[in-house]
């Protein structure tokens, strides 16, 4: 980290491995945006590390020309924690899926969020298990018919952002594979956040769950179904921004801007407000509400690794000798001649 940062192009982040997702998979767009934004992050490329678990999404590291480790199912966050703690100067990225990060890996995800290491999590949510060919996932809607649920799934899905908030996340955001510019902005924001950033990316699996987010990406519907969040701005949506979200007591409602309600009656987004974040995250999967995208929640908090480094520094300051030989020789000793 001595030299000045180089100027990179997208090509610098493109590895020599052939990309092996299905044609039309939403993963391509995410890869492209990442490769586009990374030159601008101001980090020497040898300092980027991508860690993933197993799943279609988890193939991601192979295609980024950075350091990368495609590990085992569900453990990306734990491995990334080891990477970050071993060298806190690295920019560490976790790529995971709704199965990898929320099913088998759910525990590591919530513990990472609680610990708040400065790691950027990109969770590709296609609401299905892609790599294993189409079983339902913990984000699949109730009643979903899949290979493993021929009569429909029985379990209420997680709402990933609500879960992340419940776990103590300091940064929670969402974007959509087709919203390329927005995704670039979200990647930037994740990078900028000091602490764990949790970014959910709605990703279309056109083979096993095609159209899962069609309502949010189709030209005709998307302005009515997506709520684009901007910090400090009122929560308006609709083609003409003619609709808004407001609070009726503790309950959010959708209102039409017009005679009864003006823009001033609409809730203003505040990224630092837990209640707003949790209201917003709960709007997900609700038929009468738009799905919010953007940064739902962002607060500052000390990171685990900063505390760790401070402790080690303090310990060294107090006991500078720093050789195990002193410990070897300590305690009651005696000499045999």
């Amino acid at each position: 980290m001595t030299d000045a940062v180089k100027t990179y192009t997208k090509k610098d982040f493109t590895s020599d491995q052939a990309v092996r997702w299905c044609p039309g998979c939403g993963d391509y767009a995410i890869l492209a945006q990442t490769q586009k934004v990374f030159p601008d992050l101001g980090v020497d490329k040898e300092n980027f590390v991508f860690i993933s678990g197993i799943g279609c999404s988890s193939r991601f590291p192979y295609y980024m020309d950075t350091y990368g480790f495609h590990t085992i199912h569900g453990r990306a966050s734990a491995i990334a924690s080891g990477v970050k703690l071993a060298n806190p100067d690295l920019s560490v990225w976790v790529v995971t899926g709704d199965g990898d990060g929320l099913s088998i890996g759910g525990n590591h995800t919530i513990h990472l969020l609680r610990r708040n290491l400065d790691i950027n999590v990109m969770l590709f949510n296609n609401r299905i298990y892609g790599l294993t060919k189409g079983q339902y996932s913990p984000t699949s809607e109730v009643g979903k018919i899949t290979k493993s649920t021929p009569m429909g799934s029985l379990d209420t899905p997680f709402n990933p952002l609500t879960l992340a908030l419940g776990a103590g996340a300091t940064f929670v955001s969402r974007t959509i594979d087709k919203q390329t510019k927005h995704m670039q902005a979200m990647i930037m924001r994740s990078h900028g956040h000091k602490g764990t950033s949790f970014m959910e990316i709605y990703q279309n699996c056109n083979i096993f769950n095609d159209g899962a987010f069609a309502q949010l990406t189709d030209k005709e519907t998307k302005s009515d179904t997506v709520l684009l969040l901007e910090n400090g701005e009122p929560m308006l949506f609709g083609a003409e921004k003619q609709k808004g979200v407001r609070l009726d007591g503790n309950t959010p409602i959708v209102v039409e801007i017009g005679d009864k309600w003006g823009v001033d009656d609409v809730l203003v987004h505040d990224e630092s407000d837990y209640v707003i974040a949790s209201l917003l995250s709960n709007m997900t999967y609700q038929p009468d509400f738009p799905d919010p995208i953007g940064v739902l929640y962002a607060i500052e908090a000390e990171t685990y690794e900063d505390r760790m480094v401070a402790q080690i520094d303090l310990a060294i300051e107090k006991k500078p000798s720093g050789s195990i030989q002193d410990i070897l020789n300590s305690g009651d000793t005696w000499v045999v001649d």
């Binding site: 040898e46 480790f69 690295l90 513990h111 009651d332 000793t333 005696w334």
Partner: protein, 614 residues
């Protein structure tokens, strides 16, 4: 009154009492002092699995055994010469182990009707004379005596009652003629903020000492001469502590960071505790959410150029197996420590066992060979830990290090090692000089060690990707090629096998041929060695080989084995090393397999040998 003094070669004492009676502490203090007076020694703590079972219950009995000697010894002893029983339950549990003619010292005040009933005694054994035929019984009112000694301190009676273990300690110090200064000093540091407590404990200890000296009850004192240990500076060391020091020494000599990722579990937790206190050495410890996160974080750290280490016990190893497979295929250094305990499942969590050897060898999916080595004594834990680290890095491989509950908590006098005298441990990370035509080959291998380069994030121009799918030779890219797979499976196996090239010739204790070869691994070494010494002294043609490495095995082992009529393999399991030896060398080795949660005794081994040749 005149007291006689008898000189003896070795003594085995067992302190036993309720979990609340402080027996581990008492044993620990006796051990430290015994070390300082220069005896050789070996200890065996024995905890209950409950934090604190009901006071006075059989389940709540905690014990600590020490053997000390003027000779070189290898085990904490088979049958205690002296049992200190602080309550009826302690007597009940341990009485049957006492050597016939041995001494039993009881705290008479604890032999209340309630406690007696709790321990299942119908009549009071210290009164009903049932013990007198077999043992010398000393029934001492320790509770009463410490109360008297501390009357004027104004401490609550309960607090005073708790000093009775120091009374017992003082009494034992008198009997075995040991100084009390170290313990007094230790009390002063330990309770620096509570002068009353220091005073009360010192008085209790004095009272015990004086009780021995003054009363007419104890007529004999024993002295045990200094042992004839190799010259040098010594300390007493406990296995888990020695192991932690070995890891730290490896980090210091190799100049790479040490990252420990773990999750508490008995009897491995002390490694986490010890390392986490050494932040001033730059050691990073991470208490993870579970064992899987512990080992995978360690793998992440190794990928980043630290030495990743994780320690646990059997059930925790079961959880780490998938991740170890990843380290095997990723060819990253990693040290996995299993402080074995009684299984299966939760089993006997505070007891010792050697029953995870097969899991260590084969507990992973696919062909995933890992070097496996085991410690043989508490002090040896230091050297094997250092060795495990060195091999992990040198060969870029995960290494499995086995210890057990007995080694972890047991102790022995230990000559202080010198850092600079440990084997070389140099590490070179890959850099741009590793580029071949501008390309970095993450799976190119060192000619001698077959290790791949260790290229860590942050290194310019060495950006590369690895993973758990089969890798292409040289490039490390994903490869589904059938022949490449076979080649890589073979290569990983060869790499591990090649470690045996480093080993010197296997040491045979005794003649290189004979009637019986005792073959051991792990914590049974001491018992095997001492059995062998006895048998040799008895004129039997018995030798002993101890294995530090189980995978790979020493190359000369086969030739050694065939020079003996019989091979006996004592193990605290149902026969694990024996499977490997029989399969590898087709020798009809016999097992001695006792799975009782405690060390196999030297006399068990002697019997087995005699049965073989008898």
């Amino acid at each position: 009154m005149s007291k006689t003094t008898k000189q003896v070669d070795e003594v085995v004492i067992r302190f036993a009492g309720d979990s609340g009676d402080g027996m581990q502490l008492t044993g620990g203090r006796f051990t430290e002092t015994t070390a300082i007076v220069g005896n050789d020694l070996s200890t065996l703590p024995d905890f209950p699995a409950e934090i604190r079972a009901p006071a006075g219950s059989l389940a709540g009995v905690s014990a600590f055994q020490i053997k000390f000697s003027s000779k070189d010894i290898h085990t904490p002893g088979d049958k205690p010469d002296v049992l200190v029983a602080m309550n009826p339950a302690a007597l009940k549990v341990h009485q049957k182990d006492i050597a016939p003619g041995g001494i039993i010292i009881c705290n008479a005040n604890a032999f209340t009707p309630k406690n007696l009933k709790f321990a299942g005694y119908e009549t009071n054994p210290i009164e009903d004379k049932t013990l007198d035929d077999y043992y010398t019984l000393y029934s001492v009112e320790m509770g009463k005596m410490v109360a008297l000694a501390n009357e004027d301190l104004g401490l609550p009676p309960k607090t005073i009652e708790r000093t009775k273990n120091f009374f017992a300690l003082g009494l034992l110090f008198w009997i075995y003629d040991r100084p009390m200064e170290q313990t007094q000093d230790w009390l002063k540091v330990k309770f620096a903020k509570k002068p009353d407590i220091i005073e009360a404990n010192i008085r209790a200890m004095d009272a015990g000492y004086n009780y021995g000296d003054t009363t007419e009850i104890f007529t004999t004192r024993y002295t045990v001469d200094k042992a004839n240990l190799p010259s040098g500076e010594y300390r007493n060391v406990v296995g888990n502590h020695a192991l932690s020091m070995g890891l730290a020494a490896a980090a210091e000599r190799s100049k790479i960071g040490l990252f420990y990722g773990g999750y508490p579990i008995t009897p491995a937790s002390d490694i986490l505790h010890t390392l986490s206190a050494w932040k001033h050495l730059g050691i990073k410890t991470f208490q993870a959410e579970d064992e899987i996160a512990g080992v995978t974080a360690a793998i992440g750290a190794s990928f980043t150029g630290n030495l990743g280490v994780t320690a646990t016990s059997g059930p925790g190893i079961a959880l780490k197996c998938e991740a170890m497979g990843l380290a095997v295929i990723a060819e990253l250094p990693l040290v996995v420590i299993n402080v074995q305990r009684g299984g299966p499942s939760t089993g006997l969590p505070t007891k010792t066992e050697q029953s995870d050897l097969m899991q260590a060898m084969y507990g992973r999916n696919g062909e995933a060979p890992m070097p496996v080595l085991a410690s043989s004594t508490p002090g040896d834990c230091f050297y094997v830990a250092y060795e495990a680290c060195r091999i992990a890095v040198k060969y870029m491989t995960p290494v499995m290090l086995l210890t057990d509950g007995y080694l972890a908590n047991g102790s022995e006098p230990w000559q202080l090692p010198k850092l600079e005298e440990l084997p070389d441990f140099n590490v070179t990370f890959a850099d741009e000089s590793n580029l071949a035509d501008g390309q970095f080959l993450a799976y190119a291998r060192d000619e001698k060690t077959m290790a791949r380069p260790w290229a860590i994030p942050g290194t310019k121009n060495l950006e590369h990707r690895i993973g758990g799918i089969e890798k292409e030779d040289l490039t490390g890219n994903v490869s589904y090629d059938p022949d490449n797979h076979h080649y890589m499976v073979e290569t990983r196996a060869k790499k591990v096998d090649s470690i045996a090239n480093e080993f010197g010739p296997t040491e045979v204790f005794g003649n290189p041929s004979g009637d019986v070869l005792i073959l051991s691994w792990g914590g049974t070494k001491g018992a095997c060695r001492s059995a062998c010494e006895f048998l040799q002294a008895d004129g039997k043609k018995v030798s002993h080989v101890h294995l530090r490495w189980i995978n790979p095995l020493p190359k000369d082992l086969g030739e050694i084995l065939i020079k003996f009529k019989h091979v006996l393999i004592p193990e605290i399991n149902f026969g694990q090393l024996i499977k490997i030896i029989r399969s590898e060398f087709l020798v009809d080795a016999k097992g001695l397999n006792l799975v009782r949660g405690k060390p196999i005794s030297s006399s068990d081994i002697q019997e087995s040998v005699n049965a073989l040749i008898g």
